[in-house]
């Protein structure tokens, strides 16, 4: 079952990671920046593309696996994290990238989001957060601000938005960060750190929707985003401090790594069944004496 052919080491280049088709996102969409940052991060880390699985749900941003030449799965709306957990547990040698939007991850997929974090599944989850439903032509999302007018809430949103950073911290994510599509290099560094993190890495990315969200634009974000890395006093190992920072919104919005801890075992490391190696490499039948013991219990 195991991959036996050894591929000669080869320098992974941008051309290797280009998908078969070009993205169908609107010109100016924030997701272009996220795709480019993902590709650049994989090149910097030199992870062979056949060892990467990019898994998404449904929505504009969830079309991303089609635009990056790694193994990909374009799953169901909200279910990418559940599928990704299954892939990782069946073959934990793979690098798993999960990509999607705020509606996909925090709305319909909210349940899996919380539980995948508390399980510390070893993957990077990148949410292209544009605070709107784009592919369904502009409705309120779980991260839309109060007062925002959309086709589904024409008088303005009256429901409090989800704070993805606080939620991730509360749910036990072991790596929590926020990026901005307009800050490419910074975003790429966060993606690299998230891939290298052993455990669940959550990266919320402000990825403006130029078509349907006229409130949270590049121009709106640019003066507000402040890199946590620029604050030498900030300690990303301090959970309480991270929680306090996560509540900031308005004139100053922190981006960067809020929190990371490395002392929690990943789900696959904590599972003794995986001690001999990835499940997919175990094609052995049940040993006859083990089978016999299963039957003898019943006699």
């Amino acid at each position: 079952m195991a991959t036996t052919v050894v591929v000669p080491p080869k320098h992974l280049a941008m051309a290797d990671l280009k998908g078969k088709v070009d993205p169908d996102w609107c010109p100016g969409c924030g997701d272009f920046g996220v795709l480019a940052a993902l590709q650049k991060a994989l090149i910097e880390l030199q992870i062979p593309n056949h060892n990467v699985v990019t898994i998404s749900g449904i929505g504009c941003s969830s079309n991303l696996p089609g635009y990056i030449n790694t193994y990909g799965m374009h799953t169901l709306h909200g279910r990418a994290l559940a599928v990704a957990t299954g892939v990782k547990l069946a073959n934990h040698d793979l690098t798993i990238l999960v990509t999607g939007g705020d509606g996909d991850g925090f709305g319909i997929g909210g349940n899996h989001f919380v539980h995948t974090m508390r399980r510390n599944v070893d993957l990077l989850y990148v949410v292209m957060d544009n605070q709107i439903y784009g592919l369904t032509t502009g409705q309120t999302s779980p991260t839309s601000r109060i007062g925002m007018k959309t086709k589904s809430m024409p008088l303005g949103n009256i429901e409090a938005p989800v704070n993805p950073i606080s939620l991730a911290l509360a749910a036990g994510a072991t790596f929590v960060a926020r990026g901005f599509s307009g800050e490419q290099k910074h975003l790429m560094e966060l993606i690299k750190k998230g891939i290298q993190h052993k455990g669940f890495a959550f990266l919320d990315v402000f990825s403006p929707c130029v078509t349907y969200n006229h409130d949270n634009t590049y121009q709106w974000f640019r003066p507000r985003v402040k890199k946590l890395e620029d604050d030498s006093a900030y300690d990303p190992s301090d959970w309480v401090g991270a929680m306090e920072k996560s509540l900031l919104w308005g004139e100053d919005i922190p981006i960067g790594k809020f929190f990371e801890r490395t002392d929690v075992p990943t789900l696959h490391a904590a599972e003794p069944v995986l001690n001999p190696g990835p499940l997919v490499q175990n094609s052995a039948r049940i040993a006859p004496d083990v089978a016999r013991s299963f039957v003898e219990e019943l006699m």
């Binding site: 052919v5 062979p48 056949h50 089609g66 299954g86 499940l279 997919v280």
Partner: protein, 596 residues
């Protein structure tokens, strides 16, 4: 008539109905006797009423039967509910200190045990149960040694003192019965055979293990939870990853993720959980990632009656997920078949890269049956289909070197590469896609390609039909009656046929194991010369009858349906057949006389 002997043990949940049942089951199976057990219970942890029927005999016992030979009521309520149903030759053993007998039919032996005189009830709260087991075995003509062995095994972890205390109580009951109660007319024989006793849930879990399942996940839901429990308890020894997931949506998606990465992956649930999995089944079909989902049916709709059986999920299975796609639906015929069917369906879903559903029900899931260990084959044929797990070539750039995951083929089957293999990089999508996986649902919408992909997937249906054997008629030809059933009703219909034949009404049986593919033409051909056909099923609307009609235009002469939560007993079917032959009705709904 076959020689069988049935014991009923009734009491409140928490009173220890299960333990005497387990002891009897062990003793019978070790004497080489077959057995079939069914526990009628309620969704309650303490209290209420639960009633366990164990029927044993030297030949195969396929159902709970019609008659109780021995009743052991553990409280007054159980005495009230069940004594009146005993007939000539039966006996009732009860605690004379706490339970008053009611009116019993002629020939029923009332066997009061002076429990407080025979055991120290201040020390042992379940003394009455152990005394009754001892007394019962004495009356059946089974030597005390058999009971001593089982009790010693059962209590050895608790130390010698507990073992000897329980042996003492059992012995007192045994000796008291020998001295005071009349033995049953026909003692139970012994054979050289040895059987394993297992539930359908354990059988399906073990069947999965035999099939090479490496990933099992579930959300607890009666009556499917037994699969999870067995898997969790044996996972490490079997090398299986077992996970409890946040909900059934997560379950099916996680299972498909693991399957996509290359392992055999299974999950089990009941109707409500299955409803949540429906969209995921469509994903399995569209991505062409094989997965096996077990549905243990319980009485619906909605929360329904969680602890009662029904065959009411058929149309949910037939209609699960939207759109057209190939699927397999198998209904195991008995607990032994629960084991056997899992490797079979895995080979098919792997070969045809589609979802497979095992449509079980509470009757099998939680019932118990004696099975010859030789029928539990842990080394079955395993066919993973066209699965690419190693790189056969290395393409420049380590790209996808012309590999098309969804290549259009005559069979509709496209070789499936798993993530991690160099040279086969591709994306699998739930959106419609072209041969190499590029979405044709959004910007590249293309009616010609869409049609080609639909036809590619649906071509697999022909292969599936050819790979699955059609049903066969059981019993003699040219009978007065042909009874048609599906899945778990096999055993009870078989016994009804035997009783009818003995009573001068010849009967045979057509039992459906594969619901999809159905082989409708074969069924119609089998039934075309039948004199009087009746479809027997455990639901209100005749779900199978409607399905068969929709596929073949075939309508039977009559219907027997039951939807009170309890399984059929042979006499229900026998009496209904007579009612129909007398022209009184073409739809019979037997009443369940036992109040459980």
């Amino acid at each position: 008539m076959k020689h069988t002997f049935a014991i009923g043990i009734g009491g409140a949940a928490g009173q220890g109905v299960a333990t005497p049942g387990d002891i009897f089951a062990k003793i019978f199976s070790r004497r080489g006797l077959h057995l079939n057990a069914y526990n009628a219970y309620q969704s309650i942890i303490r209290g209420g009423h639960t009633f366990l029927t164990i029927r044993t005999g030297p030949e195969r016992v396929t159902n709970m039967g019609d008659r109780l030979d021995l009743l052991i009521p553990l409280n007054q309520d159980a005495m009230h509910r069940h004594l009146g149903l005993l007939t000539d030759g039966a006996a009732c053993i009860y605690n004379a200190d706490t339970i008053k007998p009611g009116a019993a039919a002629k020939g029923v032996a009332l066997c009061p045990l002076p429990v407080s005189k025979l055991a120290d009830i201040t020390r042992n709260k379940v003394a009455q149960n152990t005394l009754a087991v001892g007394a019962g075995l004495s009356m059946m003509g089974i030597g005390f040694q058999a009971l001593a062995e089982v009790l010693t095994e059962q209590f050895k972890k608790k130390g010698d003192a507990v073992v000897s205390e329980n042996l003492g109580i059992a012995r007192a009951g045994y000796d008291y019965a020998t001295a005071n109660f009349k033995s049953f007319a026909r003692p139970l024989p012994m054979t050289e055979n040895r059987y394993a006793v297992l539930s359908g849930n354990i059988a399906m879990a073990m069947g999965g293990t035999a099939a090479g399942v490496k990933f099992y996940c579930a959300y607890p839901m009666s009556p499917s939870t037994g699969v999870l429990h067995w898997m969790a308890a044996h996972a490490r020894k079997a090398g299986i990853m077992v996970r409890q997931v946040e909900d059934e949506i997560g379950v099916v998606n996680m299972a498909i993720g693991a399957a996509h990465a290359g392992v055999r992956s299974m999950c089990a649930t009941s109707g409500g959980g299955f409803a949540l999995m429906s969209e995921g089944l469509g994903m399995s079909a569209m991505m062409e990632t094989p997965v096996v989902v077990i549905d243990c049916q319980r009485a619906g709709p909605s929360t329904g009656v969680p602890t009662k059986t029904e065959q009411g999920d058929l149309w949910q299975m037939l209609g699960a997920a939207f759109g057209d796609y190939p699927r397999l639906i198998a209904a195991p015929l008995d607990i032994r078949d629960c084991f056997k069917i899992i490797p079979e369906i895995f080979n098919l879903v792997d070969r045809f890269q589609c979802p497979g559903i095992v449509l079980c029900d509470l009757l099998l899931s939680e019932g118990r049956l004696s099975v010859d260990p030789r029928d539990l084959d842990f080394n079955p044929v395993i066919d993973r289909g066209e699965l690419i797990t190693t790189a056969s070539f290395v393409s420049p750039g380590d790209g996808n070197g012309g590999y098309k995951r969804y290549k259009i083929t005559e069979s509709g089957i496209s070789p499936r590469a798993i993530p991690g293999v160099p040279g086969y990089v591709h994306t699998a999508a739930t959106d419609e896609h072209d041969e190499d996986g590029v979405l044709i649902s959004d910007e590249f919408t293309n009616p010609t390609k869409r049609r080609a992909m639909m036809e590619k997937r649906m071509r697999k249906v022909e292969g599936i039909e050819a790979a699955v054997p059609p049903p066969v008629l059981w019993g003699p030809r040219n009978t007065d009656i042909t009874l048609i059933g599906w899945g778990s009703t096999k055993g009870v219909i078989e016994e009804a046929c035997e009783i009818l034949t003995e009573q001068g009404i010849s009967a045979n049986q057509l039992q459906i194991r594969w619901l999809v593919p159905l082989h409708g033409d074969v069924i119609v051909d089998i039934l075309k010369d039948a004199r009087y056909t009746i479809i027997v099923e455990n639901n209100y609307s005749g779900q199978f009858a409607r399905y068969l009609r929709s596929e073949t235009s075939y309508t039977p002469n009559g219907y027997i349906r039951k939807y009170d939560g309890e399984p059929f007993m042979p006499h229900h079917i026998v009496e209904a057949v007579k009612e129909q032959l007398s022209g009184k009705s073409t739809l019979s709904v037997p009443a369940h006389e036992i109040m459980v």
